[in-house]
């Protein structure tokens, strides 16, 4: 397991062969091998080649408003403490004592200037620096321990992008700004559309689901086609206030580097039902080209995935019967727990400078439609769980899934007509975005 960052596993063996053929089928024929889901050998490769190579989201800065605040987060199997020190600096520290390896922090969040190890009592500052060890002179001689050498181990790479704290197990990962790249233009709508930016509301919801992380990631990457069936109940019940299920056909799908997402249309001039203060904030803070998309094209980014497992959702739904649609935001992390198993982390997010009354409404619009009890997310969970279950058998070794929608009859929007980076298509019933997810996936898994 002591692998250099740039290496890939031996290019041999059954799994490697099968995946090479699976990539060919995707790229040349628009077909995905079902065995990609819920397969232990594939999951091992994902850990080595994806989750230890790319940037992984850990926390939003607004979860740590005060000096001393910390949260405990993971990158697959590795626990990290994300802390804010007394100078306001953020640190991401491997949650394992340097003495005998005790897990230093065993709670989800708190506020402290020091972490004290329960086992033998070494203490560390919230910067990671070793503060002291009990009976230091008696134990380690008159010079004691080298405080710098025996500091907590920081994550190999840390990056903050518009309030989002990422870490990577790969010290050679490109800087976070470079990794996000053109996706930043789209992420502004989620993170940075008003002067104060977005803030997390309270703590994340967390729940465990027997579903492969890729099903969730690719769905948020650009499955514009599932809403008319998977979420039909919400249209019928009046939660999603649209007349026809085909509504989702129109909009824009995009892919940009390893990331992607889609836009949905809204009633011209309604600004997605945002309160006037927020609309004014958007006019001030967004770029002219970004605001024009809202003002003139009347479309707005709905869902998006930052490769590999960080997704965003921006939607507007009714909370009360016959009520108006209320816009809201959520960020989620599809944290793999093993093959075919995830822990979902779901944060409610809101524009920090929005009126308090609106924040409260937006929170309820989020948690009644998304999150564990969400009237949308409940049905997504059912679909992803079922795919994961049937993919476990032997038939999936030779069972191919269709990724050909729109490929032969939809053309990209000409660059000069689309203000955002990457490639966009004026159609959400299409597989361009999800194809990008899978091509990126195979690139990481198998190398170029």
């Amino acid at each position: 397991m002591l692998q250099q960052p740039a290496q890939h596993p031996a290019r041999e063996g059954e799994t490697y062969q099968a995946l090479t053929e699976a990539r060919r089928a995707l790229v040349e024929e628009g077909k995905l091998l079902a065995k990609i889901y819920n397969e232990p050998a594939v999951f091992e490769m994902e850990k080595d080649n994806i989750f230890t190579k790319t940037w992984i989201f850990l926390a939003h800065e607004t979860e740590l408003p005060d000096p001393g605040d910390y949260v405990v987060r993971r990158i697959v199997g590795d626990s990290f403490i994300v802390s804010r020190d007394e100078h306001g600096e953020i640190h991401v520290l491997f949650n394992m004592c340097r003495h005998r390896g005790m897990q230093l922090c065993r709670v989800d969040s708190g506020n402290t200037s020091h972490f004290r190890c329960p086992y033998h009592g070494w203490t560390y500052r919230n910067t990671g620096k070793l503060n002291g060890a009990p009976f230091q002179k008696e134990a380690y001689g008159k010079d004691g321990l080298d405080k710098e050498e025996w500091a907590m181990t920081p994550a190999p790479a840390v990056g903050v992008y518009k309030g989002m704290i990422f870490a990577s197990m790969n010290a050679d990962v490109p800087p976070i700004e470079e990794y996000i790249g053109g996706m930043g233009w789209y992420l502004d709508f989620y993170l940075n559309k008003t002067p104060a930016g977005s803030e997390v509301i309270g703590a994340p919801q967390r729940w465990v689901l027997d579903a492969d992380w890729k099903l969730a990631a690719e769905n948020f990457f650009g499955d514009g086609y599932h809403t008319q069936s998977a979420h039909m109940s919400t249209i019928k019940a009046g939660i999603m206030r649209v007349k026809k299920a085909a509504y989702f056909k129109d909009g824009v799908q995009y892919k940009v580097g390893p990331h992607g997402g889609m836009f949905i249309p809204f009633k011209p001039g309604s600004f997605f039902n945002y309160p006037q203060d927020v609309v004014d904030g958007m006019r001030e803070n967004l770029g002219a080209d970004q605001f024009k998309v809202l003002e003139e094209d009347s479309i707005l980014p709905l869902n998006a995935t930052v490769f590999p497992n960080l997704s965003f959702l921006h939607s507007a739904m009714a909370v009360e019967p016959e009520g108006r649609s209320i816009p809201y935001l959520t960020i989620r992390l599809w944290q793999p727990l093993g093959p075919g198993k995830i822990e979902v982390w779901s944060w409610g997010v809101v524009e920090a400078d929005a009126p308090e009354e609106f924040k409260e409404e937006a929170k309820r619009a989020y948690l009644t439609t998304f999150g564990a009890s969400g009237t949308f997310e409940q049905d997504d969970a059912e679909n992803w769980r079922s795919v994961t279950r049937v993919a476990a058998g032997e038939m999936a070794d030779h069972h191919y899934l269709n990724y050909q929608m729109g490929l032969d009859h939809v053309e990209p929007i000409p660059d000069e007509e689309w203000p955002g980076p990457g490639t966009a298509y004026a159609r959400n019933f299409a597989d361009f975005a999800q194809q990008r997810f899978w091509r990126t996936y195979f690139e990481y898994l198998l190398g170029q």
Partner: protein
């Protein structure tokens, strides 16, 4: 410990049993009608905190934060033919114990605490889910009998071990 008469206790007991029966029998419409128009139905997110730092309910984010209207919408959804998460339906069993009744602030109201163990299985899967919680309710007297005016569901989990909450607790 009990601050009420045996008669009142019995009334509360019957209410909670009837409610559990309706939910386990998938009579969500009848269940929601046991809620007052101004019902507050909440299940806060719980975090693991150090012993001295409280119980981990931060009071800001919830799994449920419902009004009568939003509960109605959830029920309306279940009544469509497209509520996939509950088709086939969950098999649930609400085990309600440790019922404690005291008088609430308002005269016509009772403060009721109970423990809930919710068993859930679904489809042909071999595993079952359990959710454990304390419920803190306010029941209000009305002409039709007791009604649920407030419910706070305090989870014994910081990570939910069930795939979704397409059920009521």
């Amino acid at each position: 410990m009990l601050e009420t008469s045996a008669e009142t206790y019995w009334e509360v007991y019957e209410f909670l049993m009837r409610e559990a029966e309706l939910l386990d029998g998938h009579h969500e419409r009848e269940w929601v009608e046991l809620c007052t128009d101004d019902v507050v139905y909440r299940m806060p997110v719980r975090e693991t905190r150090e012993r001295g730092a409280g119980e981990g309910f931060n009071g800001q984010m919830y799994y449920f934060d419902e009004t009568r209207g939003s509960l109605e919408l959830r029920v309306r959804r279940l009544e469509t033919e497209y509520a996939w998460a509950e088709d086939p339906p969950s098999r649930t069993r609400h085990f309600v114990t440790n019922i404690r009744v005291s008088s609430a602030d308002a005269e016509e109201e009772l403060a009721v605490r109970s423990n809930l163990l919710l068993y859930r299985s679904q489809g042909t899967e071999l595993h079952q889910d359990l959710i454990s919680a304390e419920r803190r309710d306010v029941l209000r007297r009305s002409e039709e009998g007791l009604r649920l005016a407030r419910r706070e569901i305090l989870l014994d989990h910081s990570v939910l071990t069930t795939h979704n909450l397409s059920i009521f607790l």
